[in-house]
C-alpha cells in the first residue's frame, strides 16, 4: 500500500476514525503500532517478523549500552547492535549482489554458487539506519535508553516513515512521546495541506515525467539527442518530485497524527555546488552519513596523517577527501546493490573532494568574486554534473549508461524525436515553482485551508489530479532502497 493509493486512503480514514474514538494515550499508541504493522504486512507479512526482531534487539542493546560501565563493555554492546543491523541489511540486500560478483571467481575453480531467492523487505535500509543512529546516540550519551518497549516499537515501526524515510532519529521522535497525541484540528489541517502538496508532486509531476523517462531510458539508442537530454532532465524532475512528494506525504501523515518529522529537501536543484546539493537533498540521509560515518572516518584518518601539509595540501583537506570518498561510496551502495549505484556514489564523493580541494586552494574569500555570472556558472556546472550522474543512477547497467551518454554528446539528427507535451508542461511548471520558491526564501507555495479561496482552489487541484494524472499506480522510486 503506498500513500498515493486508494487502499491507503481507506486505511488512513479507518485509522483516524479509530483514533478519534480512543481516549487513552496508551490505547492510541497500541493502535498506531498495530496499524503500522498492518501497513507493513500489506507488502509482505513475513517482513513483520524481521521488523519486530530488529526492534527487540535494538531495545535490548540500547539498555545494554546504557547499563554497562564506560569503556569496552559499552563498546561491545554498541558493536553488537551495529553488527546485527548491518548484518540484517547485508543479508537481505547484498547477498545476491555478492554472490553474483563472486560467481566468476568460483567458476574458474569449477564451482557453481547457489543463488538463493531472497525477498528484499521494503524499507529495510531506512529502519536499520534509524536503529543504528539510536544506539550510537545512546553510546555517545546524547540520548537516554528509552524505557518503554512500546514507545520504542512505535519509533521503529511508525508507518509514515517506515518505508522510505525520512530517517528519523531517536532524539527527534522519542521526546515527542512524552506528550499525548489526541487528534487536533490544527494538526489535521496542516498535515492535510502537506499531504496534498506531496500527493500533487507525485501524481501530477513525478508520474507524468515517468511516462517520458521509462521508454527513453529503456532504448536510448533509438531516440534523438535532444529527446535524450529532455528525458534526463525529466528524470531529474521525476526523482525529485517522487521522493520529495513521498516525504511531504510522510510528514503530512505524521503531522495529522500529531507527530513532527524533520525536513528532507530544500530545493536541491538550486544548489551552486555539490556540497550545497547534499545540504539540500535527502537531508536526513546526508546528515546521518555525516554524523555517523563521515565525521568518525575523518577523525580516524586525520589521526593517521603525521605531516602538516602532505603534497602541499592541508592535512585536514586530505582527511576530508579520504573520508568523503569512502562515505559517498558506501552511501551509493546504500541506495542499491548494484555497481551503478556504487559508481554514482563514488562520483559524488569525488566531486565533493574536488570541490573541497578547489575551495581550499582558492580560499573562501574568492567565493562570489565573479558576481551573478559566476553564481550562474556554478549552478550550471553543478546541475550538469547532477544530470550526468542521474543517468548512472537510473540505468540498469553500464552499457545502457554509455549509450545514453553517447547519445547526449552526439549532435546527429537521427533517432526518434519525442517531445512529450505533458512532460514539457510538467518540467516548465516545475522550473517556475522552483523559481517562485527561491524568490520566497526557499518556501514552496502553500495551500492555506483557512483562506476562503483555498477550498475552490483545492477542488480545482483535485479535478486537475483526476483529469491529468497518468493512470496506473507507480510505486515510489525510493521504495526500492
Amino acid at each position: 500500500m503506498i500513500f498515493s493509493s486508494a487502499q491507503f486512503f481507506v486505511f488512513f480514514a479507518l485509522l483516524l476514525g479509530a483514533l478519534a474514538c480512543t481516549k487513552w494515550e496508551g490505547a492510541r499508541r497500541n493502535l498506531l503500532i498495530a496499524a503500522s504493522y498492518l501497513f507493513y504486512a500489506w507488502w509482505d507479512w513475513r517482513s513483520c517478523f524481521l521488523l519486530f526482531g530488529v526492534t527487540l534487539v535494538g531495545f535490548r542493546v540500547a539498555h545494554g549500552i546504557a547499563g554497562a560501565p564506560a569503556g569496552r563493555a559499552r563498546r561491545r554492546w554498541l558493536l553488537l547492535g551495529i553488527a546485527t543491523n548491518l548484518g540484517v541489511l547485508a543479508f537481505f540486500k547484498y547477498t545476491d549482489f555478492l554472490l553474483a560478483n563472486a560467481q566468476p571467481l568460483f567458476r574458474i575453480a569449477g564451482l557453481e554458487l547457489p543463488r538463493p531467492e531472497i525477498v528484499l523487505p521494503v524499507g529495510i535500509s531506512f529502519f536499520t539506519f534509524q536503529c543504528i543512529s539510536y544506539l550510537i546516540d545512546i553510546y555517545r550519551g546524547l540520548l537516554p535508553a528509552h524505557r518503554s518497549f512500546r514507545d520504542y516499537m512505535l519509533f521503529v515501526a511508525f508507518f509514515p516513515q517506515l518505508l522510505a524515510g525520512p530517517i528519523v532519529r531517536g532524539a527527534q521522535f522519542l521526546p515527542q512521546l512524552k506528550r499525548e497525541h489526541p487528534l487536533r484540528a490544527g494538526d489535521l489541517r496542516v498535515g492535510l495541506e502537506r499531504f496534498l502538496r506531496g500527493f500533487t508532486k507525485k501524481m501530477l509531476f513525478a508520474d507524468t515525467l515517468a511516462v517520458w523517462v521509462g521508454p527513453v531510458f529503456a532504448h536510448p539508442v533509438a531516440y534523438s539527442p535532444l529527446t535524450c537530454w529532455l528525458a534526463v532532465l525529466a528524470y531529474a524532475g521525476q526523482v525529485y518530485y517522487d521522493f520529495s512528494g513521498y516525504t511531504d506525504m510522510a510528514i503530512g501523515v505524521a503531522r495529522m497524527l500529531g507527530f513532527e518529522y524533520p525536513e528532507n529537501f530544500r530545493h536541491p536543484y538550486s544548489a551552486r555546488s555539490i556540497a550545497e546539493f547534499w545540504q539540500r537533498w535527502h537531508i536526513t540521509l546526508s546528515t546521518w552519513l555525516r554524523d555517523y560515518l563521515f565525521l568518525p572516518l575523518a577523525y580516524t584518518v586525520s589521526r593517521r596523517i603525521v605531516a602538516d601539509r602532505p603534497l602541499g595540501v592541508r592535512a585536514e583537506t586530505w582527511s576530508y577527501a579520504a573520508a568523503i570518498l569512502l562515505t559517498m561510496f558506501l552511501g551509493g551502495l546504500w541506495h542499491g546493490a548494484s555497481w551503478t549505484f556504487v559508481v554514482w556514489g563514488a562520483l559524488h564523493g569525488l566531486a565533493l573532494a574536488i570541490h573541497r580541494l578547489v575551495r581550499d586552494a582558492r580560499g573562501r574569500r574568492a567565493q562570489g568574486r565573479y558576481g551573478r555570472p559566476g553564481r550562474f556558472a556554478s549552478w550550471a556546472l553543478t546541475f550538469l554534473f547532477l544530470l550526468v550522474t542521474w543517468v548512472i543512477f537510473r540505468v540498469p547497467d553500464f552499457p545502457t549508461a554509455w549509450e545514453m551518454l553517447k547519445r547526449m554528446v552526439s549532435f546527429g539528427a537521427g533517432g526518434v524525436r519525442w517531445y512529450y507535451v505533458q512532460g514539457l508542461v510538467a518540467l516548465g511548471a516545475g522550473v517556475l515553482l522552483h523559481l517562485w520558491s527561491l524568490r520566497h526564501e526557499d518556501r514552496s507555495p502553500a495551500l492555506d485551508l483557512r483562506r476562503p479561496l483555498a477550498w475552490p482552489a483545492l477542488a480545482a487541484l483535485l479535478l486537475a489530479l483526476l483529469l491529468f494524472a497518468p493512470a496506473g499506480t507507480n510505486p515510489f522510486i525510493y521504495l526500492r532502497f
Binding site: 487502499q7 529503456a218 519525442w418 512529450y420 507535451v421 483526476l466 493512470a471
Partner: protein
C-alpha cells in the same frame, strides 16, 4: 469528447487524449464526410474500432481518406467507432449495410480485437444473437438523469471515465496483492485469447455473417509494432499469426501493412504509432501511419475491384 454509444449528427468533437483533432459528425452520426451525391463509382464501408475512427488525426489524414485520395472514384464510408468489437460488426452490417449498399466491405482488425470476444458485453451479445432476450428492463429516474448529465457534459464524462479507470487500476492492484497476478504477465495475457480454441470458431462464424452482406470483402490488419526491440517485428506475433491463419482458412484477403511500416520507419526513423502527447511507438497510429496504411489499402481495394 465522445458522448454515449451513438454519436449525434453534426456534432463537433475535440479530441486531445492522444494526438489532437477537431472533428464533425455527418448527418448519419459518423465521423466522416456526408455521403457523396451522386454515388461514387466504388463505395466501401469501413467497419472498425478506434483505429478506423482515427480521432487522433485530422479527418483528411485517416487511412480511409488517404485511400480515397489515392484511388479516384472511391468513397470510404467510415463507420469505425471507439470500443466497438468485431462481435458488433456483423450486427451493424446486417442492420445498416443494405441501406448503404456498399461495393466492398473493409473490416479493420487489430491486436485488441481478440480480447474483445471475451468481455462480458461481447459474450452477452453473442448469447443474444443465439437467443434474442425479452425486452430490456425499464430505466430508473436516477439512471436517466445520469445518462443525461453524461450526454451533456464533456467534463463530467471525462471525469467519470477517469474514475472508472482509477477504480479498475485499484482492483488490479488488489487482485495482484491477494492473488499474485504479476504485471509482467500483462503482455502474455493480452495475446492469450489467440490461443483460445473457441476463438477460431467464433471468428469464422462472424466472417460468414459479414461475408453474407458483402459483395467483396477485405480484412485490414493494423498490427501493433515493436519498434525498439532487438528486431523490428509485430508487437504480438501470436495474434498476427492467428489473423493470417484465419485469412488462409477462409480464403479471404488480409491486408497486413507491416512491410510498408517497416520501410517507412527505416526511411524516416520515426515510429508510425504514437504522438507527442502519448508514448511514441505505441498506441494508435499517427498521420504517417495512416498515410502508409491508406496507400496500402487503396492498392488492395483496386485489386479486389478488378
Amino acid at each position: 469528447m465522445r458522448y454515449t454509444y451513438v454519436l449525434p449528427p453534426h456534432a463537433r468533437i475535440v479530441y486531445s487524449t492522444e494526438g489532437w483533432s477537431v472533428r464533425h459528425t455527418s448527418l448519419m452520426g459518423l465521423l466522416d464526410d456526408e455521403l457523396r451525391v451522386p454515388r461514387a463509382r466504388v463505395r466501401a464501408v469501413l467497419l472498425g474500432d478506434s483505429f478506423a475512427e482515427a480521432l487522433q488525426v485530422t479527418q483528411d489524414a485517416d487511412f480511409g481518406s488517404v485511400a480515397e485520395q489515392r484511388m479516384p472514384g472511391l468513397e470510404v464510408v467510415n463507420v469505425g467507432y471507439s470500443g466497438r468489437s468485431p462481435v458488433e460488426y456483423a450486427d451493424w452490417l446486417e442492420e445498416y449495410g443494405p441501406r448503404l449498399a456498399p461495393d466492398i466491405v473493409i473490416v479493420e482488425l487489430n491486436d485488441s480485437d481478440l480480447g474483445d470476444f471475451f468481455t462480458p458485453a461481447a459474450q452477452a451479445r453473442l448469447a443474444a444473437a443465439a437467443a434474442p432476450p425479452a425486452g430490456a428492463p425499464p430505466e430508473g429516474r436516477l439512471a436517466r438523469l445520469s445518462r443525461r448529465v453524461l450526454r451533456n457534459s464533456s467534463l463530467v464524462t471525462v471525469a467519470w471515465r477517469r474514475m472508472k479507470l482509477l477504480a479498475t487500476d485499484e482492483r488490479a492492484q488488489l487482485a495482484k496483492r491477494f492473488h499474485g497476478a504479476g504485471a509482467s504477465a500483462a503482455g502474455a495475457a493480452f495475446a492469450a485469447p489467440a490461443a483460445d480454441p473457441r476463438l477460431p470458431v467464433l471468428l469464422d462464424a462472424l466472417h460468414r455473417r459479414i461475408a453474407a452482406h458483402s459483395p467483396r470483402l477485405v480484412y485490414l490488419y493494423i498490427p501493433g509494432v515493436d519498434y525498439f526491440g532487438p528486431r523490428f517485428d509485430y508487437g504480438h506475433p501470436q495474434i498476427a499469426a492467428f489473423y493470417h491463419a484465419f485469412a488462409a482458412r477462409n480464403r479471404v484477403t488480409l491486408v497486413d501493412p507491416l512491410d510498408e511500416i517497416r520501410a517507412e520507419f527505416a526511411r524516416t526513423g520515426q515510429p508510425l504509432h504514437g504522438f507527442s502527447n502519448s508514448v511514441m511507438g505505441s498506441g494508435h497510429m499517427n498521420a504517417a501511419g495512416h498515410r502508409v496504411v491508406g496507400e496500402r489499402l487503396a492498392r488492395a481495394i483496386a485489386e479486389a475491384m478488378r
